[in-house]
């Protein structure tokens, strides 16, 4: 085991993050939420999905980014290039694609007056065109949105002229995640949880392992490596400018249930499908600012990738979207092992989602105005600081 059990070690590494309490108001304030909308969600790189959802030319998916009042169409052109557009017709502003996913066969046409666009977003067809006035179709394509792909994950930036490209934005995190079988990943499962909680409360609750032996006492009291008092200790915490990573080692003394034992044996007997760049332990949690989480689980023969997107709908409502990406199972036995992993993880979400709401309820009462973070919660301290850095710019401070 490589994890150092010493207390208060992260503050020594990152003294600039301080040790004092953090204000709770940003989690419940409607005014603060408006600033986050402007300064964060309309100007940072947001993950909206993965290229595996649009494998063929003409395939598209649509994401509603409610917090930014945007509907985004991501489409693979006939030239193979993945592009993002505002999902808005150039004629009179109607929503163009109404399905969550689909295929552009020839033209994608608007339901209102049938204006048609090709898979590169160019306006190609206008019924009764001769009856318009000075219409230049070449200038009336769909409005493009800055779109880039990193290891298969599609990011958009709603800023009409982003100040950084995605590589600059990721700031070293892209280097950390070089290599690995990202191209083998396929979307295996999606869960969506509609929570009455601020998006940061949900994210914060995931962004630490302190709670595992308590909140998840029934399902994983001893899964992660802990000190002799049973307190979980992470292997490492790293920051990449706005983004963070914490890694954990699994507890070698973990007592598996009978089915878990059988499933671990099954996994070990399966051939390797997919390896991802795991940082040193068996569990990595990357928070890619502002609302995207990339998790890797190291299995005996196969690594699993799990993602979270916390999509705010309002200051007190969030869609927590959870996706499992795996190299597809070949045999029914491999599919069984995958299902075990998905199902056991689903329980974690079940238990956590409740707590996201009860925390929001507590904070909303304003009985408490401060949040207290221990050394193993330094990632949350960092995240709140980055949020505040963005929001304070908006205040002109």
């Amino acid at each position: 085991m490589k994890t150092i059990m010493k207390e208060r070690r992260w503050v020594e590494k990152y003294p600039e993050l301080g040790t004092g309490p953090v204000a709770a108001e940003p989690c419940i304030s409607p005014e603060y939420f408006e600033l986050e909308r402007e300064r964060i969600f309309r100007r940072t790189w947001l993950n909206v999905g993965n290229v595996c959802e649009i494998p063929e030319r003409g395939d598209y998916f649509v994401r509603e980014i409610t917090v930014a009042n945007a509907s985004i169409l991501v489409m693979r052109g006939q030239d193979g290039v993945v592009r993002g557009f505002h999902n808005v017709c150039s004629h009179r502003g109607n929503t163009l694609a109404w399905d969550e996913k689909g295929k552009c066969r020839g033209y994608l046409t608007c339901n209102f007056h049938s204006w048609g666009y090709d898979s590169a977003g160019q306006l190609k067809w206008v019924p009764d065109e001769a009856n318009f006035f000075d219409l230049d179709k070449s200038q009336l394509g769909l409005t493009p949105v800055a779109t880039e792909v990193f290891n298969g994950f599609v990011f958009v930036n709603l800023d009409p002229s982003p100040r950084e490209n995605l590589t600059q934005y990721l700031d070293g995190l892209d280097q950390q995640l070089k290599g690995g079988d990202f191209d083998k990943l396929k979307l295996a499962r999606i869960y969506k949880i509609d929570e009455k909680a601020n998006w940061k409360i949900g994210l914060d609750a995931q962004n630490e392992v302190y709670h595992l032996p308590f909140q998840h006492r029934y399902i994983m009291p001893d899964l992660f490596l802990a000190n002799d008092k049973g307190m979980v200790r992470v292997l490492d915490v790293t920051f990449f400018n706005r983004h963070s990573l914490y890694s954990c080692e699994m507890n070698p003394g973990h007592k598996p249930t009978p089915l878990e034992t059988a499933m671990m044996e099954l996994q070990r007997s399966n051939a390797t499908r997919c390896r991802l760049p795991v940082a040193g332990g068996q569990f990595d949690f990357y928070l890619i600012f502002p609302n995207f989480v990339l998790i890797f689980f190291r299995g005996p023969t196969d690594d699993v990738c799990l993602t979270y997107n916390f999509w705010p709908l309002a200051v007190d409502r969030t869609i927590w979207e959870i996706r499992f990406y795996t190299a597809p199972a070949r045999t029914a036995a491999e599919a069984l092992a995958d299902e075990f992993s998905t199902t056991r993880n689903r329980l974690v979400f079940d238990e956590d989602a409740v707590a996201h709401e009860t925390v929001h309820t507590g904070l909303k009462s304003r009985a408490k105005t401060q949040l207290f973070f221990q050394d193993e919660e330094i990632q949350i301290r960092h995240f709140h600081k980055i949020v505040e850095d963005h929001v304070s710019l908006a205040r002109g401070a």
């Binding site: 869960y191 089915l259 045999t331 029914a332 036995a333």
Partner: protein, 114 residues
């Protein structure tokens, strides 16, 4: 009771050869995660335990059987056995972890979409 035990002496076998002892549990061959979850949550712990015990006793043989088939090309009887194994995973939540059918302090089902 969420899942009917369907094994009737003399009826056509629904599971692959060698798994006749599991025929009484073929009602657990549920194709979707949602159906399996609902069957767990609406079952009682005693019947979940009976299904769990029966399946765990045969799990090594089930796994060996499932290793022979591509996930997208299973014969119907194997597909049923596979779905029963998926139900075992779901039911193990109740039997191994919570000792009751539902997740303790679980989230509102209507707002958790599978």
């Amino acid at each position: 009771m969420a899942v009917q035990h369907e094994g009737i002496a003399g009826s056509q076998p629904k599971l692959p050869k060698g798994f006749a002892d599991l025929e009484p549990f073929v009602g657990w061959a549920l194709p979707t995660e949602k159906e399996r979850l609902t069957a767990r949550e609406t079952g009682n712990i005693e019947e979940l335990q009976v299904f769990y015990d029966a399946m765990m006793a045969r799990l090594p043989a089930i796994i060996e059987h499932l290793k022979q088939f591509p996930v997208d090309r299973m014969p119907e009887d194997t597909e049923r056995l596979f779905q029963m194994a998926l139900s075992l995973i779901e039911v193990s939540i109740a039997v191994e972890l919570y000792r009751r059918p539902e997740v303790i302090n679980g989230f509102d089902r209507a707002r958790f979409s599978l």
